[in-house]
């Protein structure tokens, strides 16, 4: 049971890393996520179902996410549409696109198909239990992504992203086109989100076009829980706490789902819980603010 929370937390942690990139680094509140998460899932499912292959599926899912994010940034840059609206537009369009990718279906089961997960369990068969294999697999996957992301934020481009979120004028003054950077940033973020969706589909054993509903809120909640748990400005800690936040978020949702009945919560109430969680985090940060200036 507890391993399941960790595995889900790690898979959704990849999505939360994407949300962290846009919301926290770029200061670009991006709602494309609700569409790019299922996009990754449906691309992956389709590739598995039609036998195109796992590597191709993962690559295409990531690329699809990047493209979706780039479209949002493009709408925002060229048409001077606010972030939120640009994201909602792409997200809405993706709903139809996702159905098309699934072959005019709303879901696609992956039973008895070879996935990354079945491959891994076959590999460790006899030495490790299935749950531990999956845990190990996703610890590795998330570790690789986290390290790559940390490295990225140490490159000149990564540093420039860091500066752009807090002082766009400074970045423009350095001769950098902020529009290009927004395209790259929102693109990469949604690439991660789609990747997360691709893993989620394999873990759940199916892809569903409604997989993404409210996912951006859960990503944001994870980011905020992480910020609540660990204080730091070092990038390696920032990415780490997003992942830890995602695992905590999954744990809270798990508790709500299985023990919520004791306080008359049903699974349908979980979205309400997510929202209240975020509002709670916002209230706490608001309350902390004034003391900062008066010290």
């Amino acid at each position: 049971m507890i391993e399941g929370i960790f595995v889900e937390g790690l898979i959704y942690g990849i999505m939360a890393l994407g949300v962290f990139f846009t919301f926290r680094v770029l200061d670009f509140p991006d709602l494309t996520v609700d569409g790019s998460f299922p996009l990754g899932a449906v691309i992956m499912a389709r590739c598995i179902d039609s036998g195109i292959g796992l590597t191709a599926g993962i690559t295409l899912a990531f690329a699809g996410g990047v493209a979706a994010g780039a479209v949002t940034a493009l709408i925002h840059n060229k048409l001077k549409v606010p972030h939120l609206l640009a994201g909602i537009l792409t997200m809405t369009m993706l709903y139809s696109v996702n159905i098309r990718i699934l072959g005019n279906r709303a879901n696609l089961p992956l039973m008895r198909k070879e996935t990354l997960l079945t491959k891994a369990t076959a590999l460790t068969h006899g030495t490790l239990s299935e749950t531990w294999t999956l845990l190990l697999l996703f610890v590795l996957v998330v570790l690789v992504i986290k390290v790559l992301m940390d490295l990225f934020f140490h490159t000149d481009m990564g540093l420039t992203f860091g500066a752009m979120g807090s002082n766009t004028q400074m970045v423009i003054s350095q001769g950098v086109n902020p529009d290009t950077y927004k395209m790259i940033g929102v693109g990469l973020s949604n690439g991660l989100v789609a990747l997360s969706g691709a893993f989620a589909a394999q873990y759940q054993g199916f892809a569903d076009i409604n997989l993404g509903q409210g996912i951006v809120v859960s990503g944001l909640a994870s980011v905020m829980i992480g910020e609540f748990l660990i204080r730091s400005t070092r990038i390696s800690m920032l990415t780490l706490r997003v992942i830890i936040g995602a695992i905590f978020y999954k744990a809270i949702m798990f508790l709500g789902r299985y023990y919520g009945y004791t306080i008359h919560l049903t699974p349908n109430d979980l979205k309400l819980v997510s929202g209240v969680l975020i509002i709670g985090a916002l209230v706490i940060t608001q309350m902390k603010k004034p003391t900062k200036g008066t010290k």
């Binding site: 490159t155 000149d156 540093l159 500066a163 979120g165 002082n167 004028q169 400074m170 423009i172 350095q174």
Partner: protein, 264 residues
């Protein structure tokens, strides 16, 4: 170096708030000139810098930088040859990042790729450069810039600007928000850097004495026009009183900025 030809600029054209800031405005600045600019509030000094930087585009007229027409060029493209510092000491740096990260972002102009430029030898170079500011910042490479004082941040901004080797420097009251001691330090750094690197510089100041003491050309602006243009020779014998008298004679009104007189 700079040529603004017959530029006009109208904000909110066609609305009741229409504001004609420039009308057939002309200005040329030669390479290596250090021009100080004074003028009452709302004279158009900052807007002149906005025009040169591409933050706003003129309604008519042409703008040339280094003999190249840039009238319609977006701000980020022109920024490759321009070093601009604002009055707000927070404007030139990113608070949430370390000194070394800020310096890395500002070291070279233009698109930044996936290389890791912040190497050990770079850090050493940054340390050496920071030491020239004599503020002890060379020991604080890993500190967040948000922890620095306004004066330290403005000095850092100035240093970073110089290291990015701009062809044209625009300073917009960059010491006005600092306390007198820090303002003095940043100002002397400014003159040192301008001399050392032979920078073509335009500096807006509200302090008339400063405008007289520094640079080799002085412009006084009023209501979107250059009303006084004083060269190096004439500038030597200038005093604040003479300057105010010249202004009243030309404009037939009193110089409006009391602050300018008080802060001699």
């Amino acid at each position: 170096m700079i040529a603004i030809q017959d530029a006009s600029l109208i904000f909110n054209a066609g609305t009741p708030n229409e504001n004609r800031v420039f009308d057939a405005f002309n200005l040329t600045v030669k390479k290596g000139e250090f021009v100080t600019i004074i003028g009452s509030n709302g004279a158009g000094k900052s807007t002149l810098f906005n025009l040169l930087s591409g933050t706003v585009m003129p309604n008519t007229g042409r703008i040339l930088l280094n003999g190249r027409e840039v009238t319609k060029e977006p701000e980020f493209k022109r920024a490759k040859t321009i070093g601009r510092i604002f009055q707000d000491p927070l404007a030139g740096t990113a608070s949430n990042m370390s000194l070394e990260d800020n310096m890395m972002v500002c070291l070279k102009k233009g698109f930044k790729g996936l290389t890791i430029g912040l190497t050990q030898s770079r850090r050493l170079f940054f340390k050496e450069q920071l030491a020239t500011l004599q503020m002890g910042l060379e020991e604080r490479l890993k500190d967040n810039v948000g922890l620095l004082s306004g004066g330290q941040r403005q000095a850092l901004t100035l240093l970073m600007m110089v290291l990015s080797t701009p062809k044209l420097v625009l300073l917009d009251e960059h010491t006005a928000a600092l306390d007198p001691r820090n303002a003095e330090i940043v100002l002397s750094l400014t003159s040192r850097f301008v001399k050392e690197y032979g920078l073509t510089t335009l500096m807006v100041t509200h302090n008339m004495q400063q405008a007289i003491d520094l640079g080799n050309r002085l412009l006084m602006m009023d209501a979107g026009e250059v009303v006084l243009d004083i060269g190096a020779e004439e500038k030597k014998g200038l005093t604040v009183e003479k300057l105010v008298a010249m202004f009243s004679k030309i404009r037939n009104k009193k110089f409006t900025s009391d602050e300018a007189l008080l802060s001699r």
